[in-house]
Protein backbone atom coordinates (compact mmCIF):
# COMPACT_ATOMS: atom_id res chain seq x y z
CA UNK A 1 0.00 0.00 0.00
CA UNK A 2 1.86 3.04 -1.12
CA UNK A 3 0.86 6.60 -0.70
CA UNK A 4 0.10 6.91 -4.38
CA UNK A 5 -2.32 3.98 -4.27
CA UNK A 6 -4.08 5.43 -1.26
CA UNK A 7 -4.31 8.78 -2.98
CA UNK A 8 -5.82 7.12 -6.02
CA UNK A 9 -8.36 5.38 -3.84
CA UNK A 10 -9.30 8.74 -2.38
CA UNK A 11 -9.58 10.20 -5.85
CA UNK A 12 -11.76 7.31 -6.95
CA UNK A 13 -14.17 7.91 -4.11
CA UNK A 14 -14.50 11.68 -4.55
CA UNK A 15 -14.13 11.93 -8.28
CA UNK A 16 -14.87 15.57 -9.02
CA UNK A 17 -13.97 17.00 -5.69
CA UNK A 18 -10.30 16.08 -5.77
CA UNK A 19 -7.66 16.78 -8.35
CA UNK A 20 -5.29 14.13 -9.62
CA UNK A 21 -2.55 13.06 -7.23
CA UNK A 22 0.73 14.83 -7.77
CA UNK A 23 3.93 13.10 -6.77
CA UNK A 24 7.12 15.00 -6.16
CA UNK A 25 10.23 13.44 -4.67
CA UNK A 26 8.25 10.67 -3.10
CA UNK A 27 5.59 12.87 -1.56
CA UNK A 28 2.02 12.68 -2.79
CA UNK A 29 -0.34 15.61 -2.61
CA UNK A 30 -3.92 16.11 -3.60
CA UNK A 31 -5.93 19.23 -4.06
CA UNK A 32 -9.46 19.39 -2.69
CA UNK A 33 -11.39 21.79 -4.85
CA UNK A 34 -14.10 22.74 -2.40
CA UNK A 35 -13.02 23.65 1.09
CA UNK A 36 -16.52 23.20 2.44
CA UNK A 37 -16.41 19.46 1.82
CA UNK A 38 -13.00 19.03 3.41
CA UNK A 39 -14.33 17.25 6.53
CA UNK A 40 -16.00 14.62 4.32
CA UNK A 41 -12.72 13.84 2.64
CA UNK A 42 -10.93 13.77 5.98
CA UNK A 43 -13.44 11.43 7.57
CA UNK A 44 -13.04 9.03 4.67
CA UNK A 45 -9.26 9.31 4.83
CA UNK A 46 -9.23 8.56 8.52
CA UNK A 47 -11.86 5.86 8.69
CA UNK A 48 -11.39 3.96 5.45
CA UNK A 49 -7.84 4.65 4.40
CA UNK A 50 -6.30 4.59 7.85
CA UNK A 51 -4.79 8.08 8.05
CA UNK A 52 -5.17 8.37 11.76
CA UNK A 53 -2.57 11.05 12.46
CA UNK A 54 -2.78 14.67 11.35
CA UNK A 55 0.87 15.60 11.31
CA UNK A 56 0.43 19.24 10.49
CA UNK A 57 -2.18 21.74 9.46
CA UNK A 58 -0.73 24.96 8.15
CA UNK A 59 -1.70 27.84 5.93
CA UNK A 60 -0.09 29.72 3.08
CA UNK A 61 -0.78 33.33 2.24
CA UNK A 62 -0.77 33.77 -1.54
CA UNK A 63 -0.72 37.50 -1.34
CA UNK A 64 -1.86 38.88 -4.64
CA UNK A 65 -3.46 35.67 -5.88
CA UNK A 66 -7.07 34.80 -5.55
CA UNK A 67 -7.96 32.66 -3.56
CA UNK A 68 -5.68 34.12 -0.97
CA UNK A 69 -5.17 31.34 1.55
CA UNK A 70 -4.23 27.71 1.04
CA UNK A 71 -4.66 25.22 3.87
CA UNK A 72 -2.24 22.30 3.83
CA UNK A 73 -3.10 19.12 5.70
CA UNK A 74 -0.32 16.58 6.25
CA UNK A 75 -1.73 13.16 7.00
CA UNK A 76 0.03 10.01 8.15
CA UNK A 77 -1.12 6.52 8.99
CA UNK A 78 0.55 4.39 11.61
CA UNK A 79 -0.83 1.23 10.07
CA UNK A 80 0.40 1.63 6.53
CA UNK A 81 3.04 4.26 7.33
CA UNK A 82 2.29 6.50 4.42
CA UNK A 83 2.14 10.26 4.21
CA UNK A 84 -0.40 12.23 2.23
CA UNK A 85 -0.84 15.93 1.72
CA UNK A 86 -4.21 17.56 1.12
CA UNK A 87 -4.48 21.16 0.02
CA UNK A 88 -7.47 23.38 -0.22
CA UNK A 89 -8.00 27.02 -1.08
CA UNK A 90 -9.91 29.65 0.84
CA UNK A 91 -10.59 33.07 -0.59
CA UNK A 92 -10.13 36.23 1.40
CA UNK A 93 -13.77 37.30 1.26
CA UNK A 94 -14.90 34.00 2.71
CA UNK A 95 -11.99 33.43 5.14
CA UNK A 96 -13.79 30.47 6.61
CA UNK A 97 -13.95 26.71 6.34
CA UNK A 98 -15.26 23.87 8.46
CA UNK A 99 -13.11 22.49 11.24
CA UNK A 100 -11.50 19.05 11.29
CA UNK A 101 -10.94 19.11 15.04
CA UNK A 102 -13.79 16.65 15.44
CA UNK A 103 -11.85 14.21 13.29
CA UNK A 104 -8.34 14.70 14.65
CA UNK A 105 -8.16 16.40 18.03
CA UNK A 106 -4.75 17.87 17.30
CA UNK A 107 -6.33 20.17 14.76
CA UNK A 108 -7.73 22.18 17.64
CA UNK A 109 -4.52 24.09 18.30
CA UNK A 110 -3.39 24.11 14.68
CA UNK A 111 -6.59 25.83 13.70
CA UNK A 112 -6.26 28.30 16.53
CA UNK A 113 -2.81 29.15 15.26
CA UNK A 114 -4.10 29.63 11.73
CA UNK A 115 -6.82 31.89 13.05
CA UNK A 116 -4.29 33.86 15.09
CA UNK A 117 -1.74 34.28 12.34
CA UNK A 118 -3.85 34.47 9.18
CA UNK A 119 -7.34 35.34 10.26
CA UNK A 120 -9.06 32.32 8.73
CA UNK A 121 -11.98 31.18 10.82
CA UNK A 122 -13.02 27.56 11.36
CA UNK A 123 -16.70 26.85 11.59
CA UNK A 124 -17.57 24.43 14.35
CA UNK A 125 -14.35 24.87 16.27
CA UNK A 126 -14.99 24.43 19.99
CA UNK A 127 -12.78 27.29 21.14
CA UNK A 128 -11.53 29.54 18.37
CA UNK A 129 -9.37 32.22 19.95
CA UNK A 130 -5.84 33.49 19.66
CA UNK A 131 -3.13 31.17 20.80
CA UNK A 132 0.19 33.01 20.33
CA UNK A 133 -0.69 36.69 20.37
CA UNK A 134 -2.72 38.12 23.19
CA UNK A 135 -6.49 38.45 23.25
CA UNK A 136 -7.49 41.63 21.58
CA UNK A 137 -4.49 41.93 19.29
CA UNK A 138 -5.90 43.67 16.26
CA UNK A 139 -3.78 42.26 13.45
CA UNK A 140 -2.94 38.94 11.82
CA UNK A 141 0.87 38.80 11.88
CA UNK A 142 1.81 36.12 9.37
CA UNK A 143 0.00 37.70 6.45
CA UNK A 144 2.39 38.90 3.83
CA UNK A 145 1.26 42.50 4.10
CA UNK A 146 2.15 42.67 7.78
CA UNK A 147 5.66 44.04 8.46
CA UNK A 148 8.16 42.02 10.44
CA UNK A 149 8.69 44.85 12.87
CA UNK A 150 5.04 44.86 13.77
CA UNK A 151 2.59 47.68 14.16
CA UNK A 152 1.67 49.72 17.18
CA UNK A 153 -1.04 48.28 19.32
CA UNK A 154 -2.26 48.40 22.87
CA UNK A 155 -1.11 45.95 25.44
CA UNK A 156 -3.89 46.09 28.00
CA UNK A 157 -2.81 47.19 31.47
CA UNK A 158 0.87 47.05 30.68
CA UNK A 159 2.17 49.12 27.84
CA UNK A 160 1.90 50.16 24.26
CA UNK A 161 3.72 48.14 21.70
CA UNK A 162 5.62 49.94 18.99
CA UNK A 163 7.24 48.55 15.90
CA UNK A 164 10.54 46.92 16.78
CA UNK A 165 13.66 48.87 15.78
CA UNK A 166 14.90 47.09 12.71
CA UNK A 167 17.64 49.59 11.83
CA UNK A 168 17.56 48.62 8.18
CA UNK A 169 17.56 44.88 8.87
CA UNK A 170 16.82 41.97 8.72
CA UNK A 171 20.50 41.41 8.88
CA UNK A 172 22.44 39.33 6.43
CA UNK A 173 26.20 39.45 6.33
CA UNK A 174 27.56 41.63 3.53
CA UNK A 175 30.08 39.67 1.50
CA UNK A 176 33.60 41.02 1.27
CA UNK A 177 34.51 43.84 3.57
CA UNK A 178 37.76 44.58 5.24
CA UNK A 179 36.82 43.85 8.82
CA UNK A 180 34.01 42.45 10.86
CA UNK A 181 32.38 45.82 11.36
CA UNK A 182 32.08 46.33 7.61
CA UNK A 183 30.68 42.85 7.09
CA UNK A 184 28.24 42.91 9.98
CA UNK A 185 27.31 46.51 10.64
CA UNK A 186 25.08 47.24 13.53
CA UNK A 187 22.97 49.52 11.39
CA UNK A 188 22.28 48.92 7.74
CA UNK A 189 21.68 51.50 5.09
CA UNK A 190 21.36 49.58 1.83
CA UNK A 191 22.58 52.44 -0.36
CA UNK A 192 25.81 52.94 1.47
CA UNK A 193 26.68 49.38 2.43
CA UNK A 194 30.32 50.21 1.89
CA UNK A 195 32.78 47.41 1.91
CA UNK A 196 36.05 49.24 2.16
CA UNK A 197 35.31 51.74 4.79
CA UNK A 198 35.17 51.40 8.49
CA UNK A 199 31.48 51.01 8.94
CA UNK A 200 31.16 52.78 12.20
CA UNK A 201 33.37 55.82 11.70
CA UNK A 202 32.65 57.12 8.23
CA UNK A 203 29.05 56.02 8.18
CA UNK A 204 28.07 57.69 11.37
CA UNK A 205 26.73 60.71 9.58
CA UNK A 206 24.88 58.54 7.06
CA UNK A 207 23.29 56.60 9.87
CA UNK A 208 22.26 59.84 11.52
CA UNK A 209 20.53 60.98 8.36
CA UNK A 210 18.91 57.69 7.54
CA UNK A 211 17.64 56.67 10.93
CA UNK A 212 17.49 59.87 12.87
CA UNK A 213 19.98 58.77 15.47
CA UNK A 214 23.42 57.25 15.46
CA UNK A 215 25.45 55.08 17.72
CA UNK A 216 28.61 56.17 19.48
CA UNK A 217 32.21 55.91 18.32
CA UNK A 218 32.97 52.40 19.51
CA UNK A 219 36.29 50.72 20.05
CA UNK A 220 37.76 51.17 16.56
CA UNK A 221 37.88 54.93 16.79
CA UNK A 222 39.90 54.83 19.97
CA UNK A 223 42.62 52.84 18.26
CA UNK A 224 43.27 55.69 15.83
Amino acid sequence: MSALELAQQLKAKFADLISDPVEFRGEVSLKVLDAERMPEVCVYAKAELGFDYLVDLSSVDNYGDDPRFTMVYELYGYGHRCHLRLKTDVSEEKSELPTVSTIWRTANWHEREIYDMMGVRFRGHPDLRRILMWEGYPYFPLRKDFPLAGKSSELPEVAFTKPAPLEGGPFVTIAGGKDRIAREPRVRIPETDALDTNARLERRKDIQEAHGHSHGPGPVEKAK
Binding site: L132, M133, L148, A149, V158, A159, T161, A164, P165, L166
Partner: protein
Amino acid sequence: MQTSTELGYNSKIEGDVIVTRIDAALGWFRKNSLWPMPMGLACCAIELMAAGASRFDIARFGSEVMRFSPRQSDVMIVAGTVTYKMAMAVKRIYDQMPEPKWVIAMGACASTGGMYRSYAVLQGVDRIIPVDVYVAGCPPRPEALLDALIKLQGKVANEPVLRLPKEAAK
Protein backbone atom coordinates in the same frame (compact mmCIF):
# COMPACT_ATOMS: atom_id res chain seq x y z
CA MET B 1 52.89 35.76 69.51
CA GLN B 2 49.85 35.18 67.34
CA THR B 3 49.87 31.74 65.80
CA SER B 4 46.28 31.80 64.63
CA THR B 5 45.17 33.99 61.72
CA GLU B 6 44.42 37.52 62.72
CA LEU B 7 40.89 38.52 61.91
CA GLY B 8 39.92 42.11 61.39
CA TYR B 9 37.87 41.98 64.52
CA ASN B 10 39.35 40.53 67.66
CA SER B 11 36.72 39.72 70.24
CA LYS B 12 39.24 39.62 73.12
CA ILE B 13 40.09 43.24 72.60
CA GLU B 14 36.86 44.69 71.40
CA GLY B 15 34.41 42.53 73.25
CA ASP B 16 31.50 40.70 71.71
CA VAL B 17 29.82 43.83 70.46
CA ILE B 18 30.18 45.37 67.05
CA VAL B 19 29.17 48.95 66.52
CA THR B 20 28.06 49.83 63.04
CA ARG B 21 25.40 51.72 61.17
CA ILE B 22 22.03 50.23 60.44
CA ASP B 23 22.49 50.94 56.75
CA ALA B 24 25.63 48.86 56.68
CA ALA B 25 24.19 46.05 58.73
CA LEU B 26 20.92 45.81 56.82
CA GLY B 27 22.75 46.13 53.56
CA TRP B 28 25.00 43.27 54.53
CA PHE B 29 22.07 41.11 55.58
CA ARG B 30 20.19 41.85 52.39
CA LYS B 31 23.01 41.36 50.00
CA ASN B 32 23.97 38.01 51.41
CA SER B 33 20.48 36.59 51.23
CA LEU B 34 19.05 37.69 47.93
CA TRP B 35 16.38 35.16 47.15
CA PRO B 36 15.73 35.11 43.43
CA MET B 37 12.39 34.81 41.73
CA PRO B 38 13.39 32.99 38.58
CA MET B 39 11.32 34.34 35.74
CA GLY B 40 12.70 31.66 33.47
CA LEU B 41 11.07 32.10 30.11
CA ALA B 42 13.34 30.53 27.50
CA CYS B 43 16.85 29.19 26.94
CA CYS B 44 18.43 31.48 29.52
CA ALA B 45 16.42 29.60 32.09
CA ILE B 46 18.54 26.54 31.39
CA GLU B 47 21.65 28.52 32.19
CA LEU B 48 19.90 29.84 35.27
CA MET B 49 19.26 26.27 36.31
CA ALA B 50 22.91 25.52 35.66
CA ALA B 51 23.86 28.43 37.86
CA GLY B 52 21.68 26.97 40.55
CA ALA B 53 23.11 23.49 40.21
CA SER B 54 26.20 22.22 41.93
CA ARG B 55 29.01 23.31 39.62
CA PHE B 56 28.24 27.03 39.56
CA ASP B 57 26.46 27.08 42.84
CA ILE B 58 24.36 30.19 43.24
CA ALA B 59 23.56 29.22 46.80
CA ARG B 60 27.11 30.21 47.77
CA PHE B 61 26.03 33.79 47.29
CA GLY B 62 23.02 33.49 49.47
CA SER B 63 20.49 32.77 46.75
CA GLU B 64 19.73 29.58 48.50
CA VAL B 65 16.11 29.22 47.52
CA MET B 66 14.73 29.96 44.09
CA ARG B 67 11.40 31.15 45.35
CA PHE B 68 8.83 30.80 42.64
CA SER B 69 6.49 32.81 44.75
CA PRO B 70 7.04 36.51 44.11
CA ARG B 71 5.81 37.39 47.58
CA GLN B 72 8.78 35.66 49.16
CA SER B 73 11.60 36.80 46.91
CA ASP B 74 13.93 39.75 46.59
CA VAL B 75 15.32 39.74 43.10
CA MET B 76 13.56 38.77 39.90
CA ILE B 77 15.88 37.24 37.35
CA VAL B 78 14.19 37.66 33.98
CA ALA B 79 15.82 34.89 31.99
CA GLY B 80 14.60 34.55 28.46
CA THR B 81 12.57 36.15 25.72
CA VAL B 82 9.75 38.32 26.97
CA THR B 83 6.94 38.17 24.46
CA TYR B 84 4.21 40.75 24.62
CA LYS B 85 1.78 38.15 25.79
CA MET B 86 4.05 37.10 28.63
CA ALA B 87 4.92 40.71 29.44
CA MET B 88 1.53 41.13 31.01
CA ALA B 89 2.25 38.30 33.42
CA VAL B 90 5.80 39.52 34.14
CA LYS B 91 4.52 42.94 35.08
CA ARG B 92 1.89 41.49 37.34
CA ILE B 93 4.40 39.27 39.11
CA TYR B 94 6.83 42.14 39.51
CA ASP B 95 4.06 44.17 41.13
CA GLN B 96 3.43 41.37 43.58
CA MET B 97 6.97 41.37 44.88
CA PRO B 98 7.38 43.25 48.15
CA GLU B 99 9.85 46.08 48.51
CA PRO B 100 12.85 46.12 48.43
CA LYS B 101 13.13 44.37 45.12
CA TRP B 102 15.63 44.30 42.32
CA VAL B 103 15.67 42.92 38.79
CA ILE B 104 18.39 41.21 36.82
CA ALA B 105 17.77 41.09 33.08
CA MET B 106 19.60 37.97 31.99
CA GLY B 107 20.54 37.48 28.39
CA ALA B 108 20.13 39.44 25.22
CA CYS B 109 16.39 38.89 24.90
CA ALA B 110 15.54 40.23 28.33
CA SER B 111 17.93 43.16 28.00
CA THR B 112 16.99 44.47 24.58
CA GLY B 113 14.86 41.99 22.74
CA GLY B 114 17.90 40.14 21.49
CA MET B 115 17.85 38.79 17.97
CA TYR B 116 14.04 38.95 17.90
CA ARG B 117 13.29 42.35 16.43
CA SER B 118 9.74 41.41 15.60
CA TYR B 119 6.11 42.05 16.26
CA ALA B 120 5.78 39.61 19.11
CA VAL B 121 8.81 40.26 21.31
CA LEU B 122 9.09 43.02 23.89
CA GLN B 123 12.28 44.88 23.06
CA GLY B 124 13.80 44.64 26.48
CA VAL B 125 12.08 43.95 29.77
CA ASP B 126 13.14 47.39 30.96
CA ARG B 127 10.22 48.74 28.99
CA ILE B 128 7.89 47.51 31.69
CA ILE B 129 9.94 47.07 34.87
CA PRO B 130 13.04 48.87 36.20
CA VAL B 131 16.16 46.75 35.74
CA ASP B 132 19.22 46.97 37.97
CA VAL B 133 21.72 44.70 36.25
CA TYR B 134 21.86 43.57 32.65
CA VAL B 135 23.73 40.44 31.69
CA ALA B 136 24.86 40.15 28.09
CA GLY B 137 25.09 36.83 26.35
CA CYS B 138 22.98 34.42 24.43
CA PRO B 139 22.83 32.68 26.77
CA PRO B 140 25.23 34.15 29.28
CA ARG B 141 27.46 31.68 31.02
CA PRO B 142 26.46 30.84 34.56
CA GLU B 143 29.59 32.63 35.69
CA ALA B 144 28.32 35.76 34.01
CA LEU B 145 25.10 35.48 35.95
CA LEU B 146 27.05 35.06 39.16
CA ASP B 147 29.07 38.15 38.24
CA ALA B 148 25.82 40.02 37.80
CA LEU B 149 24.66 38.80 41.18
CA ILE B 150 27.88 40.08 42.75
CA LYS B 151 27.40 43.46 41.10
CA LEU B 152 23.87 43.52 42.38
CA GLN B 153 25.14 42.68 45.84
CA GLY B 154 27.40 45.71 45.62
CA LYS B 155 24.39 47.84 44.73
CA VAL B 156 22.25 46.35 47.47
CA ALA B 157 24.90 46.90 50.13
CA ASN B 158 25.02 50.59 49.37
CA GLU B 159 21.35 51.24 49.31
CA PRO B 160 20.25 53.74 51.93
CA VAL B 161 17.74 52.17 54.23
CA LEU B 162 16.95 54.72 56.86
CA ARG B 163 17.13 57.77 54.71
CA LEU B 164 13.72 57.00 53.26
CA PRO B 165 11.54 57.93 56.28
CA LYS B 166 13.37 61.26 56.59
CA GLU B 167 12.58 62.06 52.96
CA ALA B 168 8.98 61.09 53.49
CA ALA B 169 8.77 63.39 56.49
CA LYS B 170 9.97 66.39 54.49
